[in-house]
Symmetry: C4
Subunit: 264 residues, 4 copies
């Protein structure tokens, strides 16, 4: 919706500010301070804001992690904060090799999603992992049992198939006539305890680029943050469409031309 009513001088809400580091250290906080809008610390902020307005991370839900494409450092938004108000200085930064935090904001604690993000980095060589509490994911986890399945929709073509072009070696996406299958794992009391279920799903579905967590949300990853963002958008579109199809009685993976058999 429009922002026509925002006046110059409108004051935005802000998270509590981090205690000021000394001037020297702040100026030399190159891990998170960058004028490049594509720096992971900046991208996490702008993506979380976008996700918030999509109803994907309201109420402090969800999260995102990006691996710096050059340094390999892993950037993670903190736990339990209002995602639309994140600032670069709120980020945790982890050294990929040692698994140790090399930057820790004083006011916050690390995201409970951290072990799940790390599983995607290590088992899938992800460049970024997105976790949302999308209502479409939750609804699909109630409609479907072990797998979310949707077939014969153009938007499926935005999702990787896990196969490679035999000639050029490039990653191939699903085709229109394919069925997108996303595993659904059961939720656990504590988000970090999801790690086992996620790792099993990663093994059982070697081509999956996402895992739905029942009554919780979805994890989506990709080789770069741009691809993870696109995969997440395409999958959310498909889950939303599946809910609408189900509402009319049409199974989301039904054959082309068989819709009228099911239509209420």
């Amino acid at each position: 919706m429009s922002s026509c009513f925002c006046k110059e001088g409108d004051t935005p809400i802000e998270l509590s500010r981090e205690p000021a580091r000394s001037m020297e250290s702040q100026a030399s906080d190159p891990l998170v301070k960058s004028s490049d809008p594509r720096h992971p610390a900046n991208l996490i902020c702008s993506l979380c804001k976008l996700f918030y307005y999509n109803n994907w991370v309201t109420g402090t839900g969800g999260g995102i992690s990006i691996k710096h494409p050059e340094t390999g450092h892993i950037y993670i938004a903190p736990s339990g904060v209002q995602k639309e108000q994140l600032q670069p200085e709120h980020m945790f930064v982890m050294d990929r090799a040692s698994g140790a935090y090399i930057r820790t904001p004083q006011l916050y604690k690390p995201s409970a999603c951290t072990p799940l993000f790390l599983s995607c980095y290590s088992q899938r060589n992800a460049g970024a992992v997105i976790h949302t509490h999308s209502q479409h994911a939750v609804m699909c986890s109630l409609i479907f049992d072990k797998e979310f399945r949707i077939a014969n929709i153009e938007q499926i073509k935005a999702i990787p198939s896990g196969k490679k072009d035999p000639l050029r070696g490039k990653d191939l996406n699903l085709s229109f006539f394919d069925t997108l299958v996303i595993p659904i794992i059961d939720n656990t009391a504590h988000e970090e305890d999801l790690t086992d279920g996620l790792q099993e799903a990663l093994l059982a579905y070697p081509n999956a680029t996402a895992v739905i967590v029942r009554r919780h949300g979805i994890y989506v990853w990709g080789p770069t943050v741009d691809k993870a963002k696109v995969f997440n958008e395409a999958i959310d579109y498909l889950m939303e469409l599946a809910c609408k199809m189900r509402q009319l009685g049409i199974p989301p993976d039904c054959g082309i031309g068989e819709e009228s058999k099911f239509l209420r």
Copy 2:
């Protein structure tokens, strides 16, 4: 939706301006004039704008009150105004101890929600109270009888349980396997007459952080304005989800794995 079409120089709508106080008094109106975006007078404006675009406070519905964390003064948006156009100078300010207004805008009258806000401050030691006319709250009040109940959804974990960690004394939130219960009280002809029903619900549900008003909306409070905002977002997400579950025939508090018994 995008604001790409807003041009520099677009003129926003504005509420009628308060008659100018004398230059001296205006410069010395420190109760509402602050450059700090987290000052209650500023936060009420930015939150009401956000709520407006969420369809929570359109048509002058709803309201919000924030207790200044340092002075203890209670800030309240006026009655019957367009919430997205609020400015700091429109605020009523009440002295907590005496219950007397220490700032009264000339053009407006106090919110009819005031006694309800005050009940939350006194019975729950709230730091802020949010009142919306969310359609999800109204729909849930039609679907449910005396209590809104939803269970086994991750987003429940954003809501306080009312219990405290026995070791550290910290407030504990609900767990994934808990059932969130929010009392529903009946509406009255005049909003101020809701006070009795609200106070009874506060006594009967000592752990509740919200009360739904049938065919009207919801009141949500928290120890700080940030927490009240997060609770309200999480509860609205859960009420929206409950409506979608009900539309498919699934009871929002049904057991995990029992969905297919109900699915239409």
Copy 3:
């Protein structure tokens, strides 16, 4: 949704520009040039933008007219233009007394809604008239026969009852226990031919502040543009809620406590 991705320097879409009037005449176009955001020519632009993002006036549908509170001149947006891109210089201005246009943009033609707007000005002494193609209005015109009826919802209290306070003479709004009734008239091939049906409805429903046009949209008016805006928002909220209630089987004017008899 967020506009976080708008970059400075983004170029907005613009309607074709009016042929430049001579510098003198342009500087002396006080009918539409004003730095006051509440001037009718400016308000029509900002409100149409807001309405566009509410899906009320997409595809050039809908319109709005405001009577200048001081001069009594009637401002009307032109016909068939993209409402979100309106600029003050696109406005038609009519002299109330003579009914003659005193300002006519060269590129555009007057709105087909003009006779309907004028009926509201003359029969109801309106200060502004809003016409939207709201899908909630169209759906309600399919669900209901001669009248849209909804009862016992708090938001009804934002709508005038047509009665006056016997003591203070102030306009009274509906109460929570009242039923809001909005007449539904049948659509005609040409929008200007709606005038007869509208005028009859205005006579038959002397307390109505809106008329729904079947399979078309809604006209809402009020004594000031602020009130017309609030009435339109509150009525749209109620029509949206009525559609949701009907979807679950609940008649929007059913008695309090009778919902479960109807609930699917």
Copy 4:
């Protein structure tokens, strides 16, 4: 939704930058560099951003092409990019006469929609073609068989009938009592292979200004980009309305007054 929370200094996401052309060539890139917001290269960017926030082109889906009204050059957004992040320098430009690209961004490949856009230019003398993955189009392609049909809705009047005013020669739009008919063609594995189906539909439905592609989306064109935008908005509105009518059991092309026979 509001953008009130965007702070000055927020950093937007950006697509990878094109390798810098030499300063000279960049300054002399008049095919895509223009300060005129209505230049095709600028309009494609602002329209794609608008479409993105409408959920029409998320996940890199959809596309748009505009013919420069003076040079006749055809502007096309590249394939597989995030549509909300497009910049003028990302555009492909084709010479209409020769069919040869006269501008080719180094990092991107041409849109797979190109042959479809060209069909609309040659068979319909279009000035612009819009392709979205609108969920309303996909749902209508599941509900309807060979044709999308909707009748007796005011918004239909925004769509051209294909007939001309016998006196003035002006294009006539549909009337309120007409039925809008949009052909639905079957999707193919590769978007470029849709060309045959599209061209057949263009021949079979000489008055159509749009073609729905089953389980894929919609192509809409018009004599100018403004008209194509308006047609697309009006058709999307009508498809959305048709889904809502169908949800209640009402056939979108049912006669006026027959709704109650079908209403669930």
